[in-house]
Each structure stands twice: as structure tokens, then as C-alpha cells.
């Protein structure tokens, strides 16, 4: 099987990237080769493989990505999930590049002197995640009352380390190191680098041993490939595809990268809707929204980890059609729609209709998610609940999104999105019906909670029992009510 010449992106040069300041050819490696393995094969063994699925962060490295506060931002990502081909034309820094034993970087210095490393295996990954937060332009000392055990007096947000696991220290010295960090000195070269633009998106074409990695220059190029090749694997942040490669031996013949396409990275907070480009990462969306969609603002910190959110895109999250993602229940409650695009044109699909079966969606093989649309105005009362074993970086047993509107003292409309209780994310229609038209009272909620506990078809697995999942549905509604008996600013 070959690809036609007309859609093949024209690479300007042989695939290469800048590693710790040095231009390095990617060379003749299998196209599924991860950035981690590639770095390690080059002797840069600081980044480690701890889990190969983006859960432990031992492989974390810094990538120079387009910024929001500055032209470039140092962004920590899991090198174990990214194919090195996806870094063609990019610029990365590893723990070795940040400092040396003779000249430690401030982050390295704080970790070293405070006992932040014991076995040291997770440490280079922590260093990179911590350095990214160190260089976050908006990190400034907050008011004293804004400091808590998750936010340091230097503005350090401990969620920056939510994707890094340490088995030795118990984390306290790492937290202390993070909260002791000052601001970069005037001649800090990594701080200075933020002020120049990031490497521009460059087309990539790699073919090795019959497998291809393509990064077309524009959306038309992608759509052409998708029209021709039903077997093409679309990849954005690769946080899901990378796991398939590493743990399940997936070796797609053709990978098409879309995460840097300008057409998929638009963002507009309009009068009638919020339009979110599918290739924006969850971290970018969180910051672009800046709390303006409270339901999503509540969800983001609970979604996987910062490392994953730095790579994962909203389009990718919906594209996989997973039944247990945190995003779908939230977007279902927000009544979101998707814009699907193909050479045949655009179409708008309500998210509630999008999921058709276990990892099945309405999206045709030649289609791509272009935008996510969230209608405005937002419902006045919203919430996101996630049930999981661990608060940071866990997959939910059950996830629930709420959006409730009132009129004349009764519930005019309730939208409740559920994840983890069926083969697809779904709306809790029976519960919504039990709430609609009724007053916002304990009695209403108790009766609706009994209905909600029967929604979906939860199963037993290693995350939770079916009975717990069902109980959590009902309890979630009770909690929602308990927290919003008399919702502030909401006229019921």
C-alpha cells in the first residue's frame, strides 16, 4: 500500500529536533519509536521508563510549545507516549540539559539539598515537571490566604507535579523544594527562550520499513490522507495512542499527526457559544477559558495529570470514544456539539448523539473533529463529580456532570452527563425527567437520586464494584443538592 504523492507533505529537511540546544537528526528509526527510547539510545538516559503509559512521569521532558502568556512556554510532557517523529522540528530539554552536577539548575538544587531524591529514578522527571512550573510566567506570589497545601507562597501549583510518582520520599521534601523556588535570574537562558517564538509547525514525512508518519502542512492535507487511507491512525497528543503502542504492541502502518494544525487550534468565546479547536490541549483550554465555564474549571484539575493535560487534546479525548473519560460527562451536561470535518464538508453533531457504542462514534473514518461548541449562556448551577481511588491522576469509576436551570422556583431543565456506567458516556435522562418541573427541594432530590442510582448498566471491575457505582450516582445527586441547597446568585 502506498500513498499518493499529492497528499504527502513535503518535508523541508530530514526529520530532526533540537535537544538541549543541539540540532539532532532523528535518523533511521522505526516510526513508532518513542521520544523516550530515542533519547535513551542517544545516551541521554536521565529520562526513565517507569510505566510506559504516562502515569508515573519518570520520562518527563520539556518541550518549547506555543505559549499563552509568553510566545513560548516550557511544557512538560511524557516522552514515553510521544513518537519521536512527532517532535520533528521541535525543541526539547531534558534533566541533563537543565543543569549539571557542577552547576545545578535552581530546581535541581532545591530538590537535591532538601532530600527530594532517594532512589533518584523518578527524579529527572520531577525536575522537568517542576522546571515547567518554575518557568510559568503567571506564577507569582499569591495573597497569603490563597496559599494552602497545594499552592505555595511562591505561586507554585502542586498540580504541576500531579503526573509524577515517587515511591520513596512520601513527597513532603519534593513539595518543600517546589515551594522554596524563587524566580529565574535575569540571565536565565530558559527564561529568555520564552520570549522568542516557538519552533513553527513543520510538515513531516517519515517512512521506515513500510510504516509512515505524516504531519501534513494544513487541514486539507490531513483530510486528503484520511479520504484515501481508511487505516490512517490520527494522532494529536498521543496520550492514548502511545499507550497502545507501548503496552499493546499497536504498530499502525500510517500515523497522521494533527496537533499543530492552525485550523484545529482556534478558540473563540463568543456571545452565543464557545468554540474550542479540537487540537488545543486540555491545559491550553483550561487557561484560555480562565474559569469562564465553571463546570469545566472544576473538571480540569481532576482530569488525569498536568503532564497528560499538556499533551492530550480535547479532540483526541472525544475521538477515542472512551466510555470513562471525564470530558464527555462534563460536555454532555453543557449540551456541547462537535463540528466534524471531511473533504465532503462540515457537519455539526450533538455530543449526546455522537457516542454509538463501546468506543464507537458517529465519526466516519475520513472525518476529523474540528471544533467543540459549548452553547451560551451557561446554566446557572453546574458541578462536576468524579469518583476515583486517587484524587490526582486516576481514571474515574464514575464521573458526573450537572447543569441545572430554574424558572419560577422549579427546575426548568436539568442536564446530567454520566461516564463509567455504560458502554458509552450518556445522559441520565430518567433522572433529568424526575427533576424537571419540580421544585429544588430535598424531597425532589431524594426521589430523583433513587432514579439516578438505576441509570446505566454499571459493571464490576478492578476500579469499583457495580453496586458502588450505582450507589455513587444517587449519592452524587444528594451531594450536589447538599452543596447547593440555596444556590448563590441563582433564582430558583
Amino acid at each position: 500500500m502506498t500513498t499518493t504523492a499529492d497528499h504527502r507533505p513535503v518535508a523541508l529537511s530530514a526529520p530532526a529536533l533540537k535537544v538541549n540546544g543541539e540540532d539532532t537528526a532523528i535518523g533511521e528509526v522505526a516510526v513508532h519509536t518513542t521520544a523516550l527510547d530515542w533519547l535513551r539510545d542517544r545516551g541521554l538516559t536521565g529520562a526513565k521508563e517507569g510505566c510506559a503509559e504516562g502515569e508515573c512521569g519518570a520520562c518527563s521532558v520539556l518541550v518549547a510549545r506555543p505559549g499563552i502568556d509568553t510566545p513560548t512556554e516550557w511544557t512538560a510532557v511524557n516522552a514515553c507516549l510521544l513518537p519521536v517523529a512527532a517532535l520533528d522540528g521541535q525543541e526539547i530539554v531534558t534533566s541533563e540539559g537543565l543543569g549539571s552536577p557542577a552547576s545545578l539548575h535552581p530546581v535541581q538544587e532545591e530538590l537535591a539539598v532538601r532530600g527530594g531524591s532517594q532512589c533518584g529514578f523518578c527524579t529527572p522527571g520531577f525536575v522537568c515537571s517542576m522546571a515547567a512550573e518554575y518557568y510559568r510566567s503567571a506564577r507569582t506570589a499569591p495573597a497569603a490566604e490563597a496559599c494552602d497545601h497545594e499552592h505555595g507562597p511562591n505561586g507554585f501549583d502542586i498540580h504541576a507535579l500531579s503526573g509524577n510518582l515517587c515511591r520513596c520520599t512520601g513527597y513532603r521534601p519534593i513539595r518543600d523544594a517546589a515551594y522554596a523556588l524563587g524566580t529565574p535570574v535575569a540571565d536565565d537562558k530558559f527564561a529568555a527562550r520564552r520570549l522568542a517564538p516557538p519552533p513553527p509547525p513543520a510538515p513531516t514525512a517519515m517512512e521506515v520499513a513500510g510504516s509512515e508518519f505524516l504531519r501534513p502542512a494544513n487541514l486539507d492535507g490531513v483530510l486528503e490522507v484520511l479520504a484515501d487511507r481508511a487505516d490512517a491512525q490520527v494522532v494529536a497528543g498521543s496520550t492514548d495512542a502511545g499507550v497502545e503502542v507501548n503496552l499493546r504492541g499497536a504498530r499502525p502502518a500510517l500515523v497522521v499527526a494533527v496537533d499543530r494544525l492552525a485550523e484545529l487550534r482556534e478558540f473563540e468565546f463568543g456571545a452565543d457559544e464557545v468554540r474550542i479547536g479540537a487540537a488545543l490541549t486540555l491545559s491550553e483550554i483550561e487557561r484560555l477559558l480562565d474559569g469562564r465555564v465553571p463546570l469545566l474549571a472544576q473538571m480540569f484539575p481532576q482530569f488525569a495529570s498536568r503532564l497528560i493535560r499538556n499533551g492530550a487534546t480535547i479532540g483526541g479525548n472525544l475521538g477515542t470514544g472512551s466510555p470513562i473519560g471525564d470530558m464527555p460527562p462534563a460536555l454532555l451536561a453543557l449540551d456541547a456539539s462537535l463540528v466534524l470535518v471531511s473533504r465532503r464538508g462540515d457537519r455539526v453533531v450533538p455530543l449526546a448523539d455522537y457516542f454509538t457504542g463501546y468506543r464507537q462514534t458517529l465519526k466516519a473514518p475520513d472525518e476529523l473533529i474540528r471544533n467543540i461548541l459549548v452553547p451560551l449562556p451557561l446554566a446557572p448551577l453546574t458541578a462536576f463529580h468524579k469518583i476515583a481511588k486517587r484524587r490526582f491522576d486516576d481514571i474515574s469509576s464514575v464521573a458526573i456532570g450537572y447543569a441545572v436551570e430554574f424558572e419560577d422556583g422549579v427546575i426548568r431543565q436539568a442536564r446530567i452527563g454520566l461516564g463509567g456506567v455504560a458502554a458509552t458516556p450518556l445522559r441520565a435522562r430518567a433522572t433529568e425527567e424526575a427533576l424537571t418541573g419540580r421544585p429544588w427541594t430535598e424531597r425532589t432530590v431524594r426521589e430523583a437520586a433513587a432514579v439516578m442510582a438505576t441509570e446505566g448498566t454499571p459493571m464490576d471491575d478492578h476500579r469499583a464494584s457495580a453496586s458502588y457505582r450505582s450507589a455513587m450516582l444517587g449519592q452524587s445527586l444528594l451531594r450536589f443538592y447538599a452543596e447547593h441547597r440555596a444556590p448563590e446568585g441563582v433564582r430558583t
Binding site: 522505526a30 541521554l44 532517594q118 527524579t123 504492541g249 481511588k389
Partner: protein, 798 residues
Amino acid sequence: MSQLSERPRQAIVGLPLPHESAALHVTGNALYTDDLVVRTKDALHAWPVQSPHAHARITSLKVKPAYDVPGVVRVLTADDVPGINDAGVKHDEPLFPTEVMFHGHAICWVLGETLEAARLGAAAVEVEYESLPSLVTVPEAIAAGSFQGTGRHLNRGDVGTALSQASHVFRGEFEFAGQEHFYLETHVALALVDEAGQIFAQSSTQHPSETQEIIAHVLGVPSHAVTVQCLRMGGGFGGKEMQPHGFAAIAALGATLTGRPVRLRLNRTQDMTMSGKRHGFHTEWAAGFDDDGRLVALDATLTADGGWSLDLSEPVLARAMCHVDNAYWIPNVRVDGRIAKTNKTSQTAFRGFGGPQGMLVVEEVLGRCAPLLGRDAMDLRRRNLYRPHDTTPYGQPVRHAERLEACWSEVVETGEVERRRVEIEQFNATHPDTKRALAMTPVKFGISFNLTAFNQAGALVHVYKDGSVLINHGGTEMGQGLHTKMLQVAATTLGLPLERVRLAPTRTDKVPNTSATAASSGADLNGAAIKNACEQIRDRLARVAGGRLGISPGDVRFSEGVIRGLSFEGEGLRWEDVVNDAYHQRVQLWAAGFYRTEGLHWDPVAMRGEPFKYFAYGVAAAEVEVDGFSGAYTLRRVDVVHDVGDSLSPLIDLGQIEGGFVQGAGWLTLEDLRWDESDGPNRGRLATQAASTYKLPSFSEMPEVFNVSLLEKAHEDGAVYGSKAVGEPPLMLAFSVREALRQAAAAFGPPGTSVVLRSPATPEAVYWALDGARSSGHRAEQLETVELMRSPAGLSGV
């Protein structure tokens, strides 16, 4: 004060130094075994063929299709083994099995030019199985009478009589889960063969000598033909005490057969599905209390889930039985212990080594019974603490038992426990959907290997002509800071600044016949051996220096690189000058050190004696908040006072206490090993075999406030420079978290509610506990149940 424990002036031990490799760690320059592969030319990569059955006979093994995969170089099978086809010391672990004993059992190994080639080659190997019946749970094994090794019995006093005469008797059954080590660095070995056919194996191992011995017996060569080196480990926690040997043997066998270096590194799922874990236990207990709330009898049957082979299950069980008392005086004790044989990974050493499992039983007893006795759990625990002159159920005096009360009262004071308990009560009265609780638990943990012979260590110390010092010892570095402490010990003994001393990687050709770096004993044993070696050199140099200073060698003192008389006055002699003189006087400048722990004796059959050099003590207070809607909880505050003797290295010890605590909390609350117990096609499969499904503590689980202090005036007379072991004991301080969760769940019910809490106490487990408490009846009904439980008929036959 003993000569071993006495500290000189200007001691380097006791200084709060960062880890000796910290600068290498943070820059990514520290080398781990797998980092060596890129520096090794033409290494082959190994991949296992794993069984998809919990128990099956292999009826056919066709490896030829693997050779059709490009890049496959060799498939290793039982036919290739020149020596003994066994990976363990009990000779019950065939390296290449004919009968697979657990889901994931490695049948053969494929070597490829790349890892990808080896992986594809393994997928091409054709295996046929005849499925056999399997036992996956401990109750299944008990029902089938499937046990292994030797059962043990521990007895003191007359449990039957004491229970029949006790004012209050309770009994219960409690099954709790094991724990995956989840060292961040998975098992890895890299083996080379030299021109004479000798093996050099780099291995991530806590026990290089045993790795060496297993490689030797698999290859059928003497031990001197095998050298094992461990640079450092990316975590061990006991998981690399026994388990690395077989993997290193595979690499060594492959290197021998192909003449090329062989790298064997497990990915996370292979590691989790193939290597042993902490033993889960099934326990049955009966406990008697008097009217003052004092324990008068404990009768317990402990069944450890040993998995498919014996491994370290016997000593793990022995330690569990020796710790069933934890820190409490119980006059009448009977413990029956046995090891179930199940079709699971071979469960093995894990930080605490059975101690946590034994201690969990008595903490469960106290946590369950306190409300039934109408007593505050904190008071119940405190009144039962060991006191001076008490002895353990196996007959060892509890020396320094007063330190338990000292730790307890310090935690109460510095942790503001009484004030906070009032606040918690007020909070709970006004928050129907959220409850808080504070629990305190003690730790008493015996230090030394139960098996007396293991309590020995060696060291090799070189002083070069320029005065620089190189130390070798038998212990391995897994992050616990052993090497940092050993550098401090050497610098202290030689009276040198720290930077004059360097430490070489652990190698079996430098120090032979070493014990595992385990049982928290690394610093005690190796530190004493290094001290011994350094003293030999120092004493020789003292004679040289004494001659130059015109004083008796006995009056020569070494401090900060200068050698002076007893007064420490005058310019003195520079260390390097005395060393140079000594060389020219043909004085030996290196020494081998040795240490054996004195005063230990243990009868493993009678379960009597004094197996431990001393006990480490500690007390923790943990405060939790539980959400009544979901069972989710946060750990609001932890206060710890722990006894590390006179600390060798306070920053290292603090790290061990904090890290051990959080790891223990992970075991008890979060880490949820799930095996497929169904009769379906995946029976016996580990369902939580990756980081995405097996959750260890992250930042969100660390205590919001975490105060740890070291018990002061805690000199330990019998150990190196007055210190105590610290690796394992703090793990068990985390019982306080489990007990706080139990109390918070109970707070959702009426006063006096006794809560059944699964272990691990995941949010789901806590939810069911509090849901049960919420819907539980009146306290009077519970007491009726207790009366029924007291019927004498119910006591027989335990």
C-alpha cells in the same frame, strides 16, 4: 557506652547531609543498570513468553517459528541450562517450567537484536497447554489443604483458660491484601561474558551474593566465575531481595550461549505479572480483655498467601508471628502460622517483611473492639503498651519499652492531640455529611534478621598513598541512603572530612558472601564492618603517628584530617603525611572489616529466643476527613515521633520515616491488587497490572500537614555510633491512617459503632463501612452480639 556505639568529637555521623548521589539524581547523571545498555556494544534484548493460564501443563513448546522473525538470535529453553534449572534457593522455582504455576509465568525467553524483534519472536513461539485446576484465593487454598513450607506455632501462657475467664471476648475473621512494590525501576540485568568465560552481571539486586550464587548454579560454574555488581537501584523495598536472581540468570545464560551481552529489562506489566509481592494474609482471631480494658489473651491463626513457590514465605511468616503483639503486652498468646500455596506470583519480601501483617492483626483487634468495650481506641491502645521488664510472646525482653510511652506522650503534646480531638468532636456534631477522626498507633519492630546467620557483614577499605580513601561494603543502595551513611561512618572513624572518602559500587568480587540489604539492617551491619576496617587502618596509622608525635599510639586522635594527641591541641600531623610515612614504613593501608551481631539466639521450631538486637519504636497520630457521600477522604495531618537511636544521618532518616509512612498508607488505603478470581478464561490473571490500574500514593495522598521528629536521647548502645535501623519500622506507623478512617466511618453511626473495614481502605471500602455505620442499629443490639460471641462453645477448636 559500648565501643561500637561511642561517637568521637567532630563526628561526621549525625550531620544532616543530602543523599550522596543527589546531584547525579537531579541531573539525570546517576546510572542505573538499564542506562548501561547504550554504553554496551551489541547487546541482545530478552523478552519472555508468558503463560495465559493460572495452572497448566505444557504439552508442546515450538520455538522454531520465533527464529523466522527477523532479528531473533536465540530462544532460551530448559534444554539450554548447563547447571540446575532453578531460580531460587529452595529448589522449587524452575527457571524454565514444564508446569506453569501462575498466570504470567515465563516459559522461555527470546533474545533479539532489538527489543522489538524479541517481542515479536516471543509472540511467534507456539505453546500448547493442558489446563489444570487452580487455587487463586487463600480461602480456596485453605479449603483444598494447599500449604507449603513448615507451619509454625508460637505459644505463651494458657490462651484457652485466659479466654474462658476473660470479662470480654471477641472473635473475628480478617483477610487483607498484599502490595506491589512498584519500585520505579523494574527488574533489570545486563550480563557479559569475558575471555575466560566468566560472567559479569550488572543487576538491580538487593542481594548480589545470592544473585551470583543462582547464576552460578544455573550455569553449573563455581561462584568465583561469576561477578555481580549493583550500581544502585531505582527502589527495592524488598522486591529485589529474591526476585532478581532468575532474571539475572537468564541474561547470564543468554550471554554464555551467544557470546554477546544480554540485557533483560522487564516492562511494568511484565514486572507486575511475574514478580512477587507483599503477602496478603487470611487471619482468624479471638481476643480477651479484662474489665480495665487490658488484653489478657490473643489467639490467632495466620495464613500467608505464599503464591506458587516458597521463596521467603517462611521467614516472612516467622516475622509476622513475632510481631502479632506489635507494642502491646499480652500475657497469653497463641499464634498458629501457615503458608498457603496458590497459583499466583511467588510472594516475597516487602518492607516490614511480615511485621506489618502480624501487627495489623492486633491493631484490627483493638480497632474493632474499642467501641464494643465502650472505650476510646486511643486510651485502649495506650493502656496496653509494653512497659519496662515486659517480655515478648517469644521470650525476648522488651528493652527500652519506656520509649513507647515517651513517643506517645510527645505526639500527644506536640501534635496538640487533646485540643484537636475536641475540635473534631465539634466539627462532627455540625457536619452530618463529613466526619473527621484522629487515631494514634504505636510501632515496635524487631531489628536483625530472624535467621541468625544472616547477621554478618564485610567491608573492604583502601587508603591510597595520597591519603584518599575508597570504601567497599556488602550493602546495596536502593535509595535508602545507605551509602551516604557509610561514607559518614568511614569519615567519622578515620577522622576525615567527607570529601576524602569515596564509595565504590557494590560488587561480589570485593566483598563476598554478603547478606541481602534487607531487614533494615544495612547500616547496622555494613556500618559496623566499615568501622571495623577503618579502625584497623587507624590503629596502624596511630602507631606511625605516635612515633612521630612521640606519644603512645593509644593517645593518638584523628579529627578533620589532622592527627594529634589526646588534648587535640597543637598543629598535629596531616593525614596524608602520616599515610605517606606509613607506606614507606611498609604498613598495610587497606583492611577487610567484619561484623557479626552479638547476643542473638533463636529456636525457629519452638519460636523462642532473642532474635532481635533491639526494637525500633515510634508513634503516629493521623487525622482524616471522610466524605459521607462517596467515602473519599483526605489525610489532614500526621504527627510522628520515631526512635532512630542517635541518628547517623538525620535528613536520610527523616526521608525513610516519611517515605515509609506514605508507602504504608498506600498499602492500607489505596493500593488494590485485584486478581481474577472468576472461573472465566482469565482466572488467576492480575487485573491491576499497570500504573493506570494499580494506584500508588501521589501528591494527593500525602498528609496536608506532616510533622516528623526523631525521639531525643535515644542512644542505642548495641549499634554503630548509637544509631538504630530505620528502613522498615516507620511503614507501620500508617496503621494510624487506617484506624482514623475506621473511626471516621463509625462517626456516621451511633456512638459505640464497631466498623468492619476492608483492607485496603479504598474510598469504596470506606463508603461501605460508613454506610453500614449509618444504617446500623442501636448500640445495645451490638452488645447483645458480643454476649453471644462470648459463649464458651464458640471458643473451642480455634
